[in-house]
């Protein structure tokens, strides 16, 4: 058992630290304040091969692995969870299911667009009445002979109003329940596709979340992703992998908040001492560091298992559950270290705390993660 990162993973970490420090951190507060999609940053991440990084070279990617992908999201999220989210969604929820389930023609067409072609990806499963119970979706896809006709709407879609290519789940046979769901690759330029409401959220202000509306949306026959009726399975498998990205995001937010708080307590003087000199401060940081390190081990383990083609569903759920709940706890305690200053927008703590909350909710709530873990234990 080797707990050391490989030479390549260390370089990915180094590159992303430098990139985040120079290009992401300086605009994180403004991105949050203005709710602006960080387009320039994402363009740069395309340029350096971060967007679509796990796509094999023959399809235009960098042939990176899942651990590298997790490290990227972790490092970005230390300074800006919105940027981490955009990347995690593109790589984990759009590129990955096309790579794993696409036909050769689909891979040749879409994967180069999602890497070298700078097209942003999204994943559309959730509907107003189908959240955690995602099998209850009502968006339909009707077989019209030479094309599919999609009708319905999807909500809370990350990258929603910037995405060019979206993996969409729709009922092809409502009588079959889960087995009646199929997956489709939809381009935002297809007739009948439109973007609905842009969500105003508590946090992740730079991450563009929107409703997607399909009104007699014409999807070519060949854009069915995977076999007919296997959409639910594809969605669940994709979310298993996507959870590693969210685990990395939660981990990054926690690490970023802890680091900010450590620096602050070394300079803030109260009662004649730097507050880092108080034992309470030291013990709080010791506990934070413990949770960060444990979360990192869980996250990296899940990523390594996925890369090796081994079962990872339980480990990904554990990693996501652990790091997201700790992201919330750690940002809360880190903000407390700043006292009143932490509650103001002069410091990044309130943003980090707002951003942390979503990690306990999306790509499976904490409760869903516990269901997955209990299921893996055979407790039912």
């Amino acid at each position: 058992m080797d707990f050391n990162l490989s030479r390549a993973h260390l370089l990915i970490q180094k590159m992303m630290r430098e990139f985040t420090e120079n290009c992401v951190k300086p605009i994180a507060a403004e991105t949050d304040l203005t709710c602006a999609y960080p387009k320039e940053t994402i363009d740069q991440l395309f340029r350096y091969g971060v967007m679509g990084m796990c796509i094999p070279k023959e399809y235009g990617g960098a042939d990176a692995d899942d651990l590298a992908s997790a490290i990227v999201v972790e490092e970005l999220s230390k300074a800006c969870a919105s940027t981490g989210d955009i990347v995690a969604t593109h790589n984990g929820l759009c590129c990955d299911p096309i790579l794993k389930n696409g036909t050769e023609e689909q891979k040749m067409k879409y994967l180069p667009m999602l890497s070298k072609g700078k097209k942003v990806g999204a994943f559309a499963l959730t509907e107003p009445n189908a959240g955690s119970d995602s099998s209850k979706g009502t968006t339909t896809a009707e077989d019209m002979g030479d094309h599919w006709l999609l009708n319905g709407s999807k909500i809370f879609i990350t990258n929603g109003y910037v995405a060019d290519i979206i993996v969409v789940f729709a009922m092809t046979d409502p009588s079959k329940g889960n087995r009646g769901i199929s997956a489709f690759i939809v381009e935002s330029s297809f007739p009948g596709f439109s973007v609905g409401k842009h969500e105003e959220k508590m946090g992740l202000h730079g991450s563009p979340t929107a409703e997607l509306v399909f009104t007699d949306c014409v999807v070519p026959k060949e854009n069915l992703l995977g076999p007919l009726g296997k959409g639910f399975k594809i969605a669940m498998q994709t979310l298993d992998g996507g959870r590693i990205g969210i685990a990395a995001q939660g981990l990054g937010i926690a690490e970023g908040a802890m680091q900010e708080a450590i620096e602050y307590t070394k300079t803030r003087v109260q009662f004649g001492k730097r507050i880092s000199q108080f034992q309470n401060t030291q013990f709080v940081f010791a506990d934070m560091a413990l949770a960060v390190e444990a979360g990192q081990l869980l996250t990296y383990q899940a990523a390594v298992l996925k890369a090796a083609g081994q079962p990872f569903s339980k480990q990904a759920a554990m990693a996501k559950l652990y790091t997201s709940e700790n992201a919330m706890k750690i940002t809360t305690k880190a903000l407390q270290m700043f006292g009143g200053y932490g509650y103001t927008k002069d410091y990044p703590m309130e943003r980090m705390m707002r951003d942390a909350k979503i990690t306990e909710i999306y790509e499976g709530t904490s409760e869903v993660q516990r269901m997955v873990i209990a299921g893996a234990l055979g407790v039912n």
């Binding site: 030479r7 390549a8 370089l11 990915i12 180094k14 590159m15 430098e18 990139f19 340029r47 350096y48 091969g49 971060v50 990084m53 070279k57 990617g61 960098a62 042939d63 990176a64 590298a68």
Partner: protein, 266 residues
Amino acid sequence: MKIIVCVKQVPDTSGKVAVNEDGTLNRASMATITNPDDLNAVEAALALKDQTGAEVIVLCMGPPPAEGMLREILARGADRAVLISGREFGGSDTYATSQIISAAIKKIGLGDEDVVFCGRQAIDGDTAQVGSQIAEKLNLPQVSYAADLKKEGNTLTVKRMLEDGYMTIQVQTPCLITCIKELNEPRYMSVAGIFDCYSMPYEVFDYETLKDDPLVDPSTIGLKGSPTNIFKSFTPPQKGVGVMLEGSDKDTCDKLAGTLAAKHII
């Protein structure tokens, strides 16, 4: 077309500087970085590669651990790396270093349209001598302090930054250019570059590789071949905190003049 970029691994001066008893730098105990100006030289080479498809060869003289830095430059987009390394080369000053690097460049070979890029100077010695010495020894035209650069055919138009202005000159290839930070913004490593860099062409030139070149003579390389002797290296004591005067009125000026006069500076 070929572009050779000379780079140096230097101590990270944002950390603590460690000095050996004999006055030389204790490099082993200090964190290292790629010399900042050299990254501008790398970027200049990669930008020319983007434009012309030239091959970029990165060249470094240093101890074996400098391989890590060279791999990082391959990950930024260079095609080939050469490390010049050998006990015989240890302790070289700028004169001896430029003898050895010049021999290595001759070994790689420089064609009619090729260019050598160097950083202006390294942050450890701050001499700014090696680039120019290489040009002299290879009989190449050189342009120092490049702040802007264009290549058309075999002609490079270079804007040099001087203390009191700019000088734009044209030079024919093959030539040597030393680069400053105003020239460009160095790119990051790319993900694909990172996953490829350890399988890319990497060579080590040792004494055996270069010994047949007349520039590499025991009397002109290493500590023995170095005319420079280091008397002492030390971390300068911290200066006291300065005093800030604010305002552009006469009173403030009088106060400034009075303070300087009291210290016998004026």
